[in-house]
Symmetry: C2
Subunit: 418 residues, 2 copies
């Protein structure tokens, strides 16, 4: 086979370990100098391909690329940009092919969630139709953990670890103070459509009475009376109540609770997230003093407390994506396969992009306890291995040292896009 | 000297390292078996003394006590309870003396902030007046870093490290996505009366353009127009703007910004903190997409990312408190003394409780840049050494293992308090 260039792009919300996948892609590609020329990374994801803004990763040192493994967020820039179907937006697909052709790119690796795998799949189809051979390989990534086929998604294990550690620590804080101060603590976590992240926080509670005491899932319709009764029971029994609430919790009307808060004095929609709303609801009903936290981006960027398992898997799917391409595979994505047996093990399998694109994996109902407020042993068995191991970044003067790339753009060969 | 028992209590808001001080106290006290009998810890602070709920730390294993060094929050329980003056509340002081007498307690070690040092000082005075000899030693603690005399307060260095690491990580996240998504990120941090914590977050920004771009301090009256202009400049120049806002920021009317938000549809005061308010202000003016986070208790409980310097100092003040007592000192508090010279060094000095009680140390104006939005080199020189070093807790199955104490109460000898 002849030598060609490879295009890699990061897509959608970034994670603590998406750069570990980039590291896996680039380090592995460098092991095939006879077959892979330059690895170009899209500046700000697929937008970089459209604009012909291609970062020449060959200009980055081996040290800088190695440092990606311990660097959170998207070092090449990511984007929220979903390509429409070919029939709706022929011009964009034509442009992508034009850019790929101009830069002799015949490998397309797309690192993202369901939407991105759909895009990769469309490009794979188009490449066949247009008789311009591009090998399209997906690289899974999403803190939402909602990709099908793969047992879990790189990025999820680290956010899971962050939320479990955080609620354990904050729970100890509240436990210390509840006699005379805060009795209810609410931590809001991500997961607009599924409760994977909220559920993982349940790992912090290993024994009866340990925080979190209540988890509010998007999968369980919020029942105000039942919730308030449960909080009161916890305060009576344990002295306090630590609550984890998913941003995606919905009320009986099917709307997000966070949208139901009315307007402030200026007529703006309620600014706060669901955490302050829940906390205030408890205060109004029971009078308990509360505190609340919204972790927001802190949770998905928290490389300092990343899961070692997650980092290793993120690297492995990046590496496997290149190896799949080298093996002549196309329109596939490396998937994480959980081994059988009591001891956790994992390996890399293969998923067809067509099976992954636009399918959202929900959390199984068997993961939620009958009362709707916690996780089951089945859920624990699933979540626990994903947060295992620590993988600390290097520190200097008390601060983590994250990669700084030069991000040198390749010379443009085409007309400006716009 | 004859042998007597020691009473130790944790007071006020807890920190990631207050238990390291407890560890220093107990481990050191155990080295004086001829002079110190039992170390009793107040269950929920001074309230435990009033109620005669005294945890017999002698019943805890050496391993459990050692584990306090890496355990956040208050393992014996803390409280928000300020004793009034003796003339206002003779009954409480009498009760304390009664409990101390009944349990042969002649050492009183109080681990807290300014209020607590005031209490310790009052008890010291009373002990002299009543001719009941109690050695009263303060143990400094507060994330607010507002105690005088001591160079810094145990607890502060770890929250400083947490906020600096968090805004560095979240800043990278925003930088990755700003081309097509979030352009403004706001992180709210603690510090109702002083900007120490907000200022420490500035350490994340080491080079021009690095986050945080804007810090809003309680010391600087919020100027809406100037702030909005600065945010716009940052977005234009860097593509995004990462903001750290102290909960204590005040408007021109002298009120907390967080209190100025009006009411929601139910007539409740605005639930959100100052972060969502600031974020929405930017959105209304400039239309930028935003995200915000409120770290709340997560920041002061985050033992997983504690500063090694902070842990060592917290332990050292606990140890020194016992050594002061053994040396016959009274009504003093160990203080952290910064060494002279370019290399950071510290030692333990001595502060009179009378000099510490009820005095709030403000951040010097020289720590804030002329535009009011960032920290100066003086501030960096002060903050930087306090976050140095990592001191990770032990992990098992991916989760930090924190101390679990038995907390066995000593038998009561007095009438029930109430």
């Amino acid at each position: 086979m002849s030598k060609a260039n490879l295009f890699y792009a990061q897509s959608g919300g970034v994670t603590a370990v998406i750069n570990a996948s980039a590291c896996g892609v680039i380090e592995t590609a460098r092991q095939y100098p006879d077959r892979i020329g330059t690895v170009y990374a899209g500046l700000n994801g697929i937008v970089g391909a459209l604009r012909e803004e291609l970062i020449d990763t060959g200009k980055e040192s081996a040290e800088a690329i190695a440092a990606l493994r311990h660097t959170p967020a998207g070092a090449f820039g990511s984007c929220r940009y979903k390509l429409k179907s070919y029939s709706e937006n022929t011009r964009e697909y034509d442009r992508l092919l034009e850019v790929f052709r101009a830069h002799d790119i015949r490998y397309f690796l797309y690192n993202g969630g369901g939407d991105s795998q759909d895009t990769a799949n469309k490009i794979a189809q188009l490449s066949i139709e247009r008789e311009f051979p591009i090998t399209c390989i997906g690289v899974p990534k999403t803190v939402d953990n909602d990709l099908p086929v793969t047992d879990n998604c790189p990025g999820f294990g680290s956010v899971a670890k962050y939320v479990a550690v955080s609620i354990r620590e904050a729970g100890l804080d509240v436990a210390s103070m509840c006699e005379s101060s805060t009795k209810v603590f609410v931590m809001e976590v991500m997961g607009r459509h599924a409760g994977w992240i909220a559920g993982a926080a349940g790992l912090a509670s290993e024994n009866e009475g340990e925080p979190p005491h209540v988890i509010l899932f998007p999968e369980v319709t919020f029942d105000r009376e039942k919730f308030l009764a449960r909080v009161k029971d916890c305060v009576n029994e344990y002295g306090y109540c630590a609550i984890v609430v998913s941003e995606g919790v919905k009320g009986p009307d099917g709307r997000f609770l966070s949208e139901a808060g009315g307007t402030d004095a200026f007529g703006h929609a309620q600014l706060g997230g669901v955490a302050p709303m829940i906390a205030d609801m408890v205060k109004q009903e029971h009078g308990y003093k509360y505190h609340w936290a919204v972790a927001d981006y802190l949770q998905r960027a928290a490389r300092h407390i990343a899961s070692k398992t997650d980092v290793e898997q993120a690297y492995a799917v990046g590496r496997a994506a290149v190896e799949f391409a080298m093996a002549g595979k196309n329109a596939v994505m490396p998937a994480i396969v959980r081994g059988e047996g009591g001891e956790y093990s994992w390996s890399i399998g293969e998923a067809a992009l067509a099976d992954v694109a636009n399918v959202e994996k929900k959390m199984p109902p068997s993961y939620i306890t009958d009362d709707g407020f916690h996780i089951t042993d089945d859920a624990r068995a699933y979540f626990a291995p994903l947060i295992r191991g620590e993988d600390y970044p290097p520190y200097k003067d008390g601060m983590p040292r994250y990669a700084r790339l030069d991000r040198v753009l390749a010379e443009k060969k085409l007309e400006t896009w716009g």
